[in-house]
């Protein structure tokens, strides 16, 4: 896909990310997954190259780049090692909430560490009983003077136990959505604990788990935005987060396509490469078309965001389409490899397992359809959940 409107420096940035991803991240992806090893050092490496805070302002150490450039970087990283890209996306999701809603003193203290990649961020919205119905959350924050006292359990938290700070949606009032507030909780806060992480079908290198608060005391100064504004912040953060997932899904699908094309050109049956059979060649053509369409969709949504236009619906479309495409493309990549693709000796089965969760997290693809159809139908929508 052409990138005619990028500046010379942005092209150099993408070349740099391509080099680092290909030389440093791709070679370790399979082993990180096999050993369930979180590539925290890869994130630190991105930080050392000033790549952990690209879409944030330079006054807090960010790169001052449009979202469209940041997403291209994510795609490039995901093409090599999707867990590193996912981690950068979640880190950015948490950092965005701090950059947009923290008071000056908190921002000055925390943001430079986050944008430098010195600190790793995490985002805690879901709970055991509130997934798609996110506003039903029950983790409570009782105010006692200048602190909130937190009790409850967050679930499905990416970076649980690994992050340095957690952006946590908590209940401070009785109204379902307007009774939610957002707090920034440092990982070393007494009363925070991390049960063993989830054992998953894929993305084992990415730690997912619960974050438990037991009388954890958090200063009121760590609140992001006003009391009761938390659910709005959570949803606004997800608009950006969903674009991040879309870009990660495109990178993952591109990786599967790269492998499938390479294999189809080299695997011989009936005396010629299998790519010369129409049955395989047309599959590759459909895979490539899907990847390119998904890429166009996330870039269009990013362009709207960068232009300051409403983009929530488009972010949901990009997330929905890109992750469904990644699922189909990775599944077809396994098909192109035949029996070899089903073995762990080749990378495509891992890519297929990694794609599956992308249809689920950051809002299931059913919830994306709710967001999109609500945008179309407004309050007439039958698909209203809250």
């Amino acid at each position: 896909m052409s990138d005619v409107h990028l500046t010379d420096e942005q092209r150099q940035l993408l070349d740099l990310v391509g080099d680092v991803a290909r030389e440093r991240f791709a070679p370790r992806a399979a082993e990180d997954e096999a050993k369930s090893r979180f590539p925290r050092d890869a994130l630190a490496h991105l930080g050392s190259l000033d790549l952990a805070g690209l879409p944030f302002g330079s006054e807090h150490g960010g790169g001052g780049q449009p979202y469209g450039v940041y997403l291209r970087v994510l795609e490039e990283v995901a093409r090599a090692h999707v867990v590193v890209a996912l981690s950068l996306s979640v880190h950015t999701l948490a950092t965005w909430a701090v950059a947009s809603y923290a008071g000056d003193a908190l921002a000055a203290e925390v943001l430079p560490r986050l944008t430098a990649g010195e600190w790793l961020g995490a985002y805690c919205l879901s709970e055991e009983g509130s997934g798609s119905d996110a506003a039903a959350l029950t983790t409570r924050a009782e105010r006692e003077g200048e602190v909130y006292v937190l009790n409850g359990t967050k679930a499905w938290v990416t970076h649980a136990g690994e992050a340095d700070c957690y952006v946590v949606m908590v209940r401070t009032g009785e109204h379902k959505s307007r009774g939610v507030s957002t707090l920034l909780v440092p990982a070393d806060t007494p009363g925070i604990s991390f049960p063993p992480r989830e054992r998953k079908m894929g993305m084992a290198a990415s730690p997912t788990g619960q974050v438990v608060f037991t009388d954890a005391r958090v200063p009121v100064a760590n609140r992001l935005g006003d009391e009761g504004e938390g659910f709005r912040i959570a949803l606004a953060a997800l608009d950006g987060g969903r674009l991040g997932i879309a870009a990660c899904a495109v990178g993952l699908a591109q990786c599967a396509l790269d492998h499938a094309v390479g294999y189809a050109g080299q695997r011989q049956q009936f005396g010629r490469p299998i790519g010369q059979f129409q049955g395989v060649a047309f599959m590759l053509a459909d895979m490539a078309t899907g990847v390119e369409a998904a890429r166009a969709l996330y870039r269009e949504a990013a362009a709207r965001r960068d232009a300051g236009e409403p983009h929530g619906q488009h972010a949901s479309m990009a997330k929905l389409f890109a992750t469904d495409t990644a699922m189909r493309v990775t599944t077809d990549a396994v098909q192109v490899y035949g029996g070899y693709g089903y073995t762990t000796d080749y990378p495509v089965e891992r890519l297929m397992r990694e794609a599956k969760v992308m249809q689920i997290f950051e809002g299931t693809n059913q919830i994306q359809r709710v967001v999109i159809s609500r945008g179309l139908l407004g309050s007439c929508s039958a698909a209203t959940t809250a």
């Binding site: 010379d8 420096e9 150099q12 940035l13 740099l16 080099d19 680092v20 050392s48 190259l49 000033d50 790549l51 690209l54 790169g63």
Partner: protein, 262 residues
């Protein structure tokens, strides 16, 4: 301390090189040009000295206007400025012509060290570092796989086929480096952004007082008369083993013995 890093813009090493049939020079428009890989080691070595002891590091490059992109790339590693000898008249220079121009560009510059790659990936003559030292009347420490700079002296381990020599020289000196010297860093994004505002001087041959007749293709002491492409690789010899004995291994051993490799 002030360090000069001469660099070269070369055709992409991964691409097939094309030759201009009219004058037997490398067709530099044939592939996307890149920074010569060996220069990444010299830049890394200069940056390590800069970070350890403090130094101003200046890129020196001879080439056409388009070499600006290669110079910016070099600056993105954190170097401080550049001298770009920007003159179409240098095209086709051989090693002597190149060294002559680089020496002229440094005639009025203050510096303590020149650190450069031991060769360029396109010409591979490995001559320019020593010739530059000769033109500047400086000691040349070539093929360095380790460099220490202290108390006005440069000490290198000079890579040899069967070990290394330890050689030292008083500063200023020319040091050429080989791959074993370090692992080059990646530029940072802020380095990329800062590179565009670093100062780049752009003297032409006249400003340096170089006689245009002594450089470029016309002034070259050497000329390429003929170029023969490397013959394609011959088909190898296949050794099969039916699994019943060590016949395959034996055939491989015999082959290696015949080639005097065993």
């Amino acid at each position: 301390m002030r360090i000069i890093c001469p660099i070269k813009r070369v055709p992409d090493t991964a691409a097939d090189k094309k030759i201009d049939a009219t004058d037997n020079t490398v067709d530099r428009d044939g592939s996307e040009p890149v920074l010569n890989a060996n220069d990444e080691w010299s830049i890394e070595e200069a940056m390590r000295i800069k970070e350890r002891d403090g130094a101003e590091v200046i890129v020196l490059c001879m080439g056409p206007e388009a070499a600006q992109t290669t110079i910016r790339k070099a600056l993105s590693y954190g170097l401080d400025g550049a001298i770009h000898v920007n003159d179409e008249g240098v095209a086709g220079s051989d090693a002597v012509g190149t060294a002559r121009v680089l020496a002229a560009a440094l005639a009025d510059e203050e510096f303590d060290l020149i650190i450069m790659g031991n060769q360029s990936s396109d010409a591979r003559t490995m001559l320019v570092p020593a010739m530059l030292a000769e033109f500047l009347d400086l000691p040349a420490l070539t093929y360095a796989k380790k460099l220490d700079v202290a108390d006005g002296t440069a000490t290198v381990q000079r890579e040899m086929p069967s070990g290394h020599q330890v050689v030292e020289a008083p500063l200023p000196a020319v040091v050429s480096v080989v791959e074993a010297i370090n692992e080059p860093r990646y530029p940072s994004f802020k380095g990329i952004m800062a590179a565009k505002s670093k100062p780049v001087a752009t003297p032409d041959l006249a400003a340096l007082g170089v006689d245009a007749g002594e450089v470029g293709l016309g002034g070259a002491w050497t000329q390429v008369d003929e170029i023969t492409p490397k013959p394609p690789k011959e088909a190898g010899e296949k050794v099969s083993d039916d699994g019943s004995g060590n016949l395959g291994a034996q055939a491989v051993a015999e082959f290696l013995t015949k080639q005097k490799l065993l």
